[in-house]
Symmetry: D3
Subunit: 152 residues, 6 copies
């Protein structure tokens, strides 16, 4: 059976932290789907098309990685895609408590799913999308926090 | 003096975690008031009447438990009800830090109040109302996370 | 049925934090047993007799409080005493994670037991027995951290 | 070179916790600028003029302390003011994780900046502006949580 | 290239938590080596032979899993075995902070290694080897915390 | 009055993390005393002379920094040296909770003392002396974790 992982998120925008986790996870799976959730409750700063375009640009030379959008329950999307793995990065212990609740709930809803966590690298531990948005909104240079080659 | 405890919350909706904490606290108090706070700043997903109805249904055969709504400061409500105890469940260390600030502030405002904490059971530790709402909003089956016999 | 709570610990030595939690818990129970565990794996700084003597002195005028020693599993001791409650104070989130594991394990071993947590008061949050021992060992004045009227 | 520290925040409203950290930091710096950030994304409860007025009243007799507003990136403001230090108080471990991300990001954006943290005093650890607003909004007496001499 | 993972630990003794993480990780790797570290600084409660025997019994029908002992640096052992993955379970945020330091240090020492984390299941979250030893030492029934079919 | 800070620790051994915090704190104080505590309860891995020698070598060209040993209470040592500041680095939230207890206790014992915290840099966040000892004990190359120019 093909090992398919879904990396769900809003990627508003994709950061070097996301990029690093995904690249390190490539050898672990046959296919990784970066799944951009469309959550009507959570207004994104950057339009969906931009967010998708940036991710595509970052991984365009990696055939094992695809980018999609989804709505509804993440585990339902995983079922539709035949994915048995969720991929997530862990930065801080606050992250961890949140991810544990989500991960254990997902497993209750779909017992075949397994959430696989990789660590961020130390240099990238302070960075998340919310901090990148904050730097950007205030006119700072966010380019060092996002993958090379993309421009907010 | 009657031992009266108030379990304050928005119960949006009540979860199996709430139910478990309240049931285990029954022998500790003469009376437990489940107090649904009306907070104009925090928009609930489910209408107040539904939230109250669910709680009443869950505990209708327990005479020591009543359900009320309140607005204003929780400790002022406790004073009006003659309650010397606040009852809360603890799930995670993030919960704990939040509850400690609230609990210690309540004691400053009303030194006779004591917040009494019980642990969630391990199986219910990942579940809170916010996760239940998320499952519900996305079309998932939230019934396993809420008390038996109620329907969102 | 009498509501009996056991407050287990090594009390090496008893601190103002312990004292505050126990005093505030008195109205909640009919009887509180302060149970000094004899753990051959954990060498105490102060001899058992001294530790017991200090606790007795602090609570000698409170008939609902007694002091005992025990060995073996805490929940087995609770069963022998007819106690359905364990009483513990919570200071920090590190404390909480430790107490949650112990509390949930105790409930697995003895489903009738309930651990009841009270918060420390803000002023006493930094203090625990280990810090008191450290101050004492280094010749500092630990008297402000322990109950009035006792002397290390 | 003059040692200038910026204490950034929204001070909505200033609390006894802020006051205590700033007073204890005075001997460490030649000048402390309390910088009230104007963040269009975050609606304050109290109008900017009131917030500034309260801070000025609290520190009006301390020549080393001034109060200003700023918008844009905090580190850009620090550069403009010639400030090499950011001053922050630490209350809880949740605070810490948040402050670490911000502090390490600020240093990436402006390597000459150093964030200096002081601890809150134990009595003030439960208090933050959000809790003060909550007490105020619900008609409670918030005066014990804010500096003497000011009135919400 | 074969995907080999090492699950290092002292397994003093193996718990249902370890067992659950390892079983769920089987489809992710071609081979999992359970590596019992021999650490002269850390005295185990159970003799090495017993610890190895229990693990072998638990996984004897899983050809992809083997059990070995090792000494020295974990990453040096991984290099010798051709393993590019370390496998670990995550229970609590205290665990997480510890594991993050170890995992990020291992990556500094051996950049090709990746630590892969799975969550414990909620029911097993309170259990670790130290709690099992504590129950056992005090004459409690630890059998519900360790894999079926083994006996301490 | 001269601003004197004491950076207390066992420095078993000094790490790049310590070095980075101390260097960044130099402009904040007139004098920094690195104070190696002699704690008979805590056996160090490296002999005191070696630990002192390494620190001296690292900072020999910085006149504002001196190295000393001390025993007894840290705040008593600070009083003897006329130091009003304790300097500490913060890595993780587990660190923070520990440091907060120590820092708030020190202030109770000596109200004039202020603990000043700086953050580690992200790259050095995983490293502490205990991890360095672990790498060293197991024959790993610990040189990248300790200051340049010293050799364990």
């Amino acid at each position: 059976m093909k090992k398919i992982a879904v990396f769900p998120g809003s990627f508003d925008p994709i950061t070097k932290g996301h990029e690093s986790v995904i690249i390190r996870a490539i050898p672990l799976f046959d296919e990784i789907i970066i799944a951009v959730g469309q959550n009507p409750e959570k207004r994104a700063m950057f339009p969906l098309e931009k967010r998708l375009g940036w991710i595509k640009k970052v991984f365009m030379e990696v055939p094992a990685i695809s980018v999609e959008t989804y709505s509804g329950l993440t585990v339902d999307y995983c079922k539709r895609k035949g994915a048995r793995y969720l991929l997530r990065g862990l930065r801080t212990s606050a992250d961890f408590e949140f991810e544990r609740s989500i991960g254990q709930t997902n497993k209750k809803l779909y017992p075949e799913i397994e959430t696989v966590f990789l660590l961020t690298t130390p240099e990238l531990t302070p960075i998340n999308s919310s901090i990148v948005r904050d730097v950007y909104r205030n006119g700072g240079d966010a380019s060092r926090f996002i993958p090379d080659g993309i421009k907010l």
